[in-house]
């Protein structure tokens, strides 16, 4: 388990972390999610020992690691821009950690071959990083980090520098890899979809503080505040209430509690149809319908409709504090 207790970190005037405490269970895959400047990368680097916290402690596997240098924390770290050793071949890159530990040659060779097979770089061992694609480089970096059998694997926006389709593919691959290797993993990302897809648990950070921590579904359905709600998915504002656009109902007849609105635009996005409305006071409101729902209602621009707020059981409602 990793435990971060009340960690504070400042860079000059900038408060990167402000009393952050989190727990990461053994064998879990936890995502640190937040906008840029939220402190998520700093938190990861504090866990890795690449940054020293101003206050607070870090425990890894039950031992206080706050004063332990990165070299001795038993971690594997994967950087956004790969940090590949450019003058070494793929094989030498992956073997690096074992070589500096002076392991027997035969053991290194066997371990490296096994890892290259796991990450799917079998035929690439004699290539240099410059001869690999971004996705391959990142898989090499993962193999390199896993070679030293770390207790904790830390990934800093590992897919951030990749094309959208490669990113999606690697995400899925990472999830499968984690199920296979089962090493406790912490992933930093600003992409909520990535966090929801890959992680067992998500920690949402903002302005150096933890906003909420929980399973992906829990955060989506029961966000603790408007920030978490807005960060995890699209929101529509109805008066002083925030709702998910897909939880709103559109009716062509007046109803109790429904608000009258005029349709400004109907956008067809394949399976989903986004209806942009204008409320009485001129306030914009966005509603998400399925293709079939929209077809049944026969909605068109200029039509007057009635929008119902979701029922009491609908969890994605939050009043604005302000």
């Amino acid at each position: 388990m990793i435990a971060v207790n009340d960690v504070t970190k400042r860079f000059g005037d900038f408060q990167a972390l402000d009393g952050v405490s989190i727990r990461v269970e053994d064998g879990s895959l936890t995502a640190l999610l937040g906008p840029s400047g939220s402190g998520k990368s700093t938190l990861l680097r504090v866990i890795a020992g690449l940054e020293a916290p101003d206050e607070g402690t870090v425990e890894i596997a039950g031992r206080d690691a706050t004063a332990v240098p990165a070299q001795k924390r038993g971690i594997g770290f994967v950087f956004q821009h790969y940090a590949a050793f450019k003058h070494m071949t793929v094989r030498e890159n992956v073997a690096f950690g074992l070589r500096v530990r002076k392991r027997p040659k035969a053991e290194i060779a066997a371990k490296v071959s096994e890892l290259l097979r796991i990450v799917g770089l079998d035929g690439y061992q004699s290539r240099y990083p410059a001869q690999l694609s971004g996705g391959q480089r990142q898989r090499m970096a993962l193999a390199r980090a896993l070679a030293v059998e770390p207790e904790v694997l830390l990934l800093d926006e590992p897919f951030g520098a990749l094309d959208a389709n490669v990113r999606a593919e690697l995400r899925e691959w990472l999830r499968r890899l984690h199920d296979e290797v089962r090493v406790t993993t912490v992933l930093v990302t600003h992409d909520q979809e990535e966090a929801m897809e890959v992680a067992d648990r998500i920690v949402v950070l903002n302005h150096g503080r933890v906003e909420q921590e929980g399973a992906p579904r829990e955060l989506y359905e029961r966000p603790a505040n408007p920030f978490v709600m807005g960060f995890l998915g699209p929101v529509s504002r109805l008066g002083d209430t925030l709702v998910r656009p897909h939880d709103l109902r559109v009716h062509t007849e007046p109803r109790d509690g429904a608000l009258e609105a005029q349709i400004a635009r109907v956008v067809h996005l394949g399976f989903e149809v986004r209806v942009e409305l204008e409320l009485d006071g001129g306030e914009p409101l966005s509603v998400q319908l399925t293709r079939d729902e929209a077809a049944e209602l026969e909605l068109g621009a200029g039509d007057i409709v009635w929008v119902a707020r979701p029922g009491v059981g609908d969890a994605s409602v939050r009043t604005l504090a302000a």
């Binding site: 990165a70 001795k72 950690g97 990083p129 970096a141 030293v148």
Partner: protein, 268 residues
């Protein structure tokens, strides 16, 4: 930018003519004059005891100054790029001083500090060490004028490489020394090589500062450059040409080494 064809050719001719007038013609004349009377005379004049002594003294000074500057240059570049300390801006400026100050002034400054009546000179002389008008002073002068080369070649490379690879090495369990030897050093090796080549060329060709501190004791503190001047002053023009040609040849060799060092494959 679109430049008219005639203007473009005109500019090229101008640039080439400029280079030819200032560089190619003088160097060419030196070689022509050197070999005018055949190889035999040239060989004789560069194998006199004084010439051989001057050649080996030049080599010796370069062999001390260049390695020292290389090690210190790499350390200084690391401090400038990776370090966080007060006075970094000052250090930055100081490194360039040898470029800015005339070598003659550097020579004079060394005389003032290490000369018999200088700050340390008296104490050193009492302990039997003669710096000025001797080889140690010439080495010091050479170190001084070559100081910026390695630092200035390595610094931008270090900056470009960044410190992520070093951090990665640390998370993989490498000690500081292992990280330096296995990750940092290979990453900056071309920068170091360039710096070494430039330092060597400068060390061999240095005249001003070395001239001031050498005392020009024939057969003792004459380097190749000083030998050229010496012979020229004594109306041994052919001898001066021969020594010049030797210097030019060494410089050409260094340049060739430098061209050969250029990384063949871009690994970025």
């Amino acid at each position: 930018m679109v430049v008219d064809r005639r203007a473009r050719i005109g500019l090229r001719v101008l640039a080439l003519a400029y280079l030819a007038a200032l560089l190619l013609v003088p160097v060419g004349v030196v070689f022509y004059r050197t070999f005018e009377h055949g190889l035999g005379t040239v060989w004789e004049s560069i194998t006199t005891p004084a010439a051989i002594h001057a050649f080996w003294l030049t080599v010796r000074i370069a062999l001390i100054a260049v390695p020292l500057n290389t090690v210190l240059g790499v350390v200084t570049a690391l401090a400038l790029v990776r370090g966080r300390f007060r006075g970094k801006a000052v250090l930055h400026a100081v490194i360039d001083l040898p470029f800015a100050i005339s070598p003659v002034v550097i020579g004079l400054a060394l005389v003032l500090v290490y000369g018999r009546t200088g700050w340390f000179g008296g104490w050193l002389a009492d302990h039997g060490v003669q710096v000025i008008f001797a080889v140690p002073g010439m080495v010091l002068a050479t170190i001084f004028v070559c100081l910026p080369f390695v630092v200035r070649e390595v610094e931008p490379v270090l900056r470009e490489v960044g410190d992520e690879q070093e951090q990665a090495a640390a998370t993989l369990g490498a000690s500081r020394w292992q990280t330096f030897a296995r990750v940092t050093l290979p990453a900056i090796r071309y920068g170091i090589a360039y710096g070494v080549v430039l330092s060597t060329a400068r060390a061999i060709g240095e005249f001003g500062a070395v001239s001031v501190v050498s005392g020009k004791i024939a057969g003792q503190t004459d380097t190749l450059t000083l030998l050229v001047e010496n012979r020229f002053q004594n109306f041994d023009v052919a001898g001066a040409y021969a020594a010049s040609a030797l210097l030019a040849l060494i410089a050409l060799l260094t340049l060739l080494v430098m061209t050969g060092l250029r990384p063949r494959r871009d690994q970025s």
